[in-house]
Symmetry: C2
Subunit: 303 residues, 2 copies
Amino acid sequence: MHALLTGQWNADEAHRWRTALQQACPGWQWHEDLTDAAAAQAIEVAVVANPPPGRLLGLPRLRLIQSLWAGVDRLLADASLPAGVPIARMVDPAMTQAMVQTALWAALSLHRGYFAYQDRQRAGQWQVHRQRRADEVQVLVLGAGVLGSAVAKALSQQGYVVCSWRLQGAAAPDLPVLLGQSQIVINLLPLTPATRGLLNAAFFAQLPRAASIVNLARGAHVVDEDLLAALASGQLRHAVLDVFHTEPLPPEHPFWRHRQVTMLPHAAALTDERSAAQVVAAQLARLQRAEPVQHLVLRDRGY
Amino acid sequence: MHALLTGQWNADEAHRWRTALQQACPGWQWHEDLTDAAAAQAIEVAVVANPPPGRLLGLPRLRLIQSLWAGVDRLLADASLPAGVPIARMVDPAMTQAMVQTALWAALSLHRGYFAYQDRQRAGQWQVHRQRRADEVQVLVLGAGVLGSAVAKALSQQGYVVCSWRLQGAAAPDLPVLLGQSQIVINLLPLTPATRGLLNAAFFAQLPRAASIVNLARGAHVVDEDLLAALASGQLRHAVLDVFHTEPLPPEHPFWRHRQVTMLPHAAALTDERSAAQVVAAQLARLQRAEPVQHLVLRDRGY
């Protein structure tokens, strides 16, 4: 059985993925370039991480595209993606745990004012601010998939008042009601036409004054100019941003030197090649047993 | 029934404590100055937060000294403290939760390198570092009282390999063995003659290279010069410090501007006057029912 492994990695990352997948999937032969036409004819599965557009053309026996990343918006943006081939997103327990860690760190930092204390340290100021209990802080988690649910659960366990909102589902309360009560918003939505630019001036205006946002999803969820204006006016106190419209964030972008912005370099949660390779192996085993693969993407929904 | 309330507060803090205690303890009359000799004769309980030395003299009916703080080293250092009067420390659930939050934030920040990412943001560097799972990180919690136990439990729930060490108790494994395996050490020990200066050059040398320490207990647990030397040599990567030999930390102290030191102004966990007043009320009720009060300090042990 033949599989294609294609992604945009440095040599070290490529080596780690190759090694992990070979170990986890005995019986499969892994190809990284398809100069051999016979190999292209044999490929049944493509395991991909931001493949270059057109990379998955000319694979007549392809029957599964398995993403190594949780977000598939860039993958789906490739108009040449073969129609009719199922696409599965990565649901990696280690990646989920990493996302929970980052969300918890961000919520604790915002709730307890640790960012503010770090500013005061740099300014040489010894000044204690009042301490609120976790149950006095409402956190709104946008997105209720695997990541959003895990984050909401962890925050609840720490005592926060947590509410969740998702795009679909009749049970979801109105977003404006939730925004009006939430001091912290954590975005874990998929990027789709319906969610692009959701975090804009109108969104920020519905939050209580001096609320904070944490964007762990996609840069294009946020209208940067609106965010900067809301930070400047005091409507927002702070933003923790892992993702950006352009990555790496261009050096001239104001986020870099903004005191109310804490940045991560799209590192909130990396897929762990060790556990992800096990997930891929389980998917390939389902394929061989003609069982349904898991975590399928609905193309027309966009995630 | 008459109680003395004495502490070193600003006017706002004094007002909040007075109000909270009056509401929580109906039937008790609260005194803050004892110019009235008759009142001094009547005081049965002193509720204290760093009282000035000598403040508790001349109270013939005093039968409980209830601290509002968890740490009682400064209280016990008052040689004029009336002998034979039981002393109780504060065990406030809201304060315990706040300490767990700070410990969790510090451990997450050190494990995931969020402090390093904040440095890189200021330097304009977009650079991802490798991500370890929580179960690849061993955290040593020094102290296994109410606070140490709660912190250890919360870290375990987040997947860390947690070990605990306490001064007393035959079950405690040797400190050198634990130090040799721990990437992060969180200090929650009481300050006693046996623990003063415990975090010194010899202690740091037993940790694996590039370990980190978190001091949430007392400044005098740490030998500052040894800590600075260990940070400079790379033996320690980072220190999170909430407490200091002198507080506020003097402006000329190198910790203020040290890139490997993250400071809090003794704000890791504040006693919450609302929940603490309930704890005091429960103690006073036990006293009235002639039941044993809780969380008694052993003076010769020092905590």
